[in-house]
Symmetry: D2
Subunit: 132 residues, 4 copies
């Protein structure tokens, strides 16, 4: 299992007229957390991109338990629980102190510059093998 955690302070731009964070705005935070996660194991996303690899989102899921508000300081955790095969599944939690506000998952696949789904490149598999 590999896991990474980032801090986010809620921006006013991320709130909506219900006075809380608009529900779509959790997905960019998940993205920051998963970018931190893969950078942490030596696979910075900008490097993957420059080598012609992309990790588009195949599926995203968010469960909203408690609302986040303007200026809240949040901890967003991204976790990969199982050795990725063709698909990479990442799980997320958003906490404000001890309160868990949100959970979610995203599923990804490696894609080349031509937009075709491909197997994870060998150096990625080798990297993951160190952790699982």
């Amino acid at each position: 299992m590999i896991s990474s955690q980032i801090k986010v302070v809620v921006r006013f731009a991320e709130t909506d007229a219900m006075g809380v964070v608009y529900h779509a705005n959790y997905l960019p935070w998940f993205e920051i957390a998963r970018t931190a996660l893969i950078a942490q194991i030596g696979l910075p996303y900008t490097k993957l991109q420059s080598q012609g690899y992309h990790l588009p989102v195949l599926e995203a899921n968010v469960k909203y338990k408690l609302p986040a508000k303007y200026d809240d300081e949040l901890l967003v955790t991204a976790t990969i629980k199982e050795m990725p095969a063709l698909r990479i599944r990442i799980e997320y939690t958003v906490h404000r102190g001890n309160e868990m506000l949100t959970t979610g998952t995203t599923t990804h696949v490696f894609m080349n510059n031509e937009g075709h789904a491909i197997r994870p490149p060998e150096f990625v598999i080798e990297t993951f093998k160190k952790y699982f």
Copy 2:
């Protein structure tokens, strides 16, 4: 079953550096489609709000099959398949012509001004009963 369809033209603001629509930006389209859906059966969201009712998102799910691009003209369909009980489940598709680009679901619950989950108000249940 009740269903409603809206047209969306992809804004440049909705694209990302992969040259396609950023994955979080489908959720606001789903919201426009479900607002049209409940307005179509006589429950405009602004009226629900003015009466102290809200329909926050409990869960959202999006599956990305093909990417939408800048200036694409899309049809977003929202469908309620079963008579809602405490929770209201809405399904979505996004089409570009005959291509289905995206599917999704959201789950909602009625909430009062104090932020508590409540049963759907009687006039909402009566309205739904006409359709199921």
Copy 3:
């Protein structure tokens, strides 16, 4: 003078915790209006792009007089008042019925695929000459 007008219905995603449209969210509407404006005179932006031309924003200015709210139906007008030279200046207004909510301007320059500012291509100048 050339002018174009588009209709926008305020999305819930565009509001903020003050209950009104977040101030940055007028800029995407300006973009839709100016895209309609240049398409109207025969220069669709997607065609300009496919020929290697871009129209990045050099400067943007927005004046907020009255707030727009969720579900408001707005008219956004884009106007070019003077024959463009190297720079193209576009003016905007946002109306809700007779009320003028917002005004703005953006300034643009033609850019090639290499990211260099260039003179407007000849066919663009010829097109503009028909209107000024």
Copy 4:
């Protein structure tokens, strides 16, 4: 003169199909910088809000010199150069290392809960007097 500086790392969600930061997305960064600025002098925005004061944007201006890109680490500086009277004018710069990418200004007025423009409250004037 009072000045405050914040760090921003460009999110993928903030880019557009030109491969750079979408022009509207500088405004939320300006907001984070001015919130830091007024918090730094002892006027946290959440406290102002809880006392019934708001600081809506009357006017915003952005000049784009060089584009910011995904994952760029940026410094956003907010500066108040003159003792505010009825209106508060804030200036911004966005730097990537030694390069200045963007400049801007916003103008604000104090507003009460009823949405009326008001003079800055006495404790705000006293606070500003310490710095000018």
